[in-house]
């Protein structure tokens, strides 16, 4: 019976562990997305600044 309880406990632990891992993979995907979006946002801001400079020079 004791062995039973131990196996059950290990099973529960593993279940949460695998849920954690799945969630972490989602987080990692989102992280890449965020990095990409920040990059695009910065590009577009930089471009705007450059355009403004060119205009001012003309």
């Amino acid at each position: 019976y004791l062995e039973d309880v131990k196996i059950q406990a290990r099973g529960q632990l593993q279940a949460v562990e695998s849920r954690y891992k799945a969630q972490k993979r989602i987080t990692q995907t989102f992280e890449l997305e965020i990095l990409d979006l920040y990059g695009r946002l910065e590009d577009s801001l930089l471009k705007k600044l450059e355009d403004e400079k060119t205009e001012a020079a003309e």
Partner: protein, 293 residues
């Protein structure tokens, strides 16, 4: 007989120089030897005696549920706690809420906010009162705890304890203070009432921040021993003892704002004595916890 008086003499001596704990330390070590720590006994111990500084962090972590009662699980559970710390920390870097230069206590605040789902939309949002309280507690804890992971978990769990377990009791503490002050020194209470200072005492500093930023850390941790082990009423007696200690000064002031300002910045030289007397008063009014070891 001779031995007895010698022993007593030594106890008094130890008490004076701060080593009273020799026997207490032994009994705590005995408690800590158990494979499965007895939370209730650890609570009782912390209620009665100051924790020896070498065991304080361990006992706090156990009492706050950061590590479980079983010794065998401590390493594994701390591994999970560290991972969680790193996960949350990294997430805040990704969304640019924290930088390498962000002060540690602000990092802790953001981590706590993220974990409790209260992270503001923008890093420049003004802080709420509860954030200010968090920062004050974090700042004091930072002085007591070296390891960042331990420190974050302790601050976060301590604040959660205040917000959950003591949620209903904390707002009642000013009322208790009034009762006990009336009992201990009704002239002082009358004076505070007469200059309408009683309702304006620094209750946020005393009861929300639990004296963080009011007492130096060495005195503060002895108060927090009691709070963490289950009594937030100790806060009332620390406040009471501060009032009694500075009675002369307070009686000389007749302006509520001046009284509050003085109490928010009390002299830091005899705070250890204030805490000791506060603990005695607390035991006197609320009884000493029994059934130890």
């Amino acid at each position: 007989m001779a031995e007895d008086s010698q022993r007593n003499f030594r106890s008094v001596y130890y008490e004076k120089v701060g080593f009273r704990g020799v026997e207490e330390k032994k009994s705590l070590e005995f408690l800590l030897k158990d494979d499965r720590l007895d939370i209730e006994k650890l609570c009782t111990f912390s209620q009665r005696f100051p924790l020896p500084s070498m065991y304080r962090i361990l006992v706090w972590k156990v009492l706050l549920g950061i590590i479980p009662p079983h010794h065998e699980s401590h390493a594994l559970v701390m591994k999970y706690r560290k991972e969680q710390y790193r996960d949350v920390y990294h997430a805040l870097q990704v969304i640019r809420f924290i930088k390498d230069t962000t002060p540690q206590i602000e990092v802790f605040l953001r981590m706590h906010q993220l974990e409790s789902g209260t992270l503001p939309r923008n890093v420049s949002f003004p802080l709420e009162l509860e954030d200010v309280v968090f920062l004050a507690i974090a700042k004091a804890m930072e002085e007591m705890v070296e390891d960042n992971t331990d420190c974050y978990w302790l601050v976060s769990s301590f604040v959660n304890q205040l917000n959950n377990k003591y949620k209903d009791l904390l707002p009642q503490l000013p009322k208790f203070l009034e009762q006990y002050l009336n009992f201990e020194d009704n002239r002082l209470l009358a004076h505070l009432r007469a200059c309408s200072a009683f309702s304006k005492l620094p209750y946020t500093l005393w009861f929300k921040k639990c004296f963080a930023g009011c007492l130096p850390e060495s005195s503060l941790q002895r108060v927090w021993d009691k709070v963490i082990s289950g009594s937030c009423k100790i806060l009332v007696f620390v406040a009471l003892e501060i009032l009694l200690t500075f009675k002369m000064k307070i009686m000389a002031l007749t302006n509520a704002e001046k009284i509050t300002r003085f109490l928010e910045n009390i002299p830091q030289d005899n705070t250890d004595a204030i805490v000791s007397k506060a603990i005695d008063l607390w035991h006197k009014h609320c009884g000493t916890p029994v059934h130890l070891v």
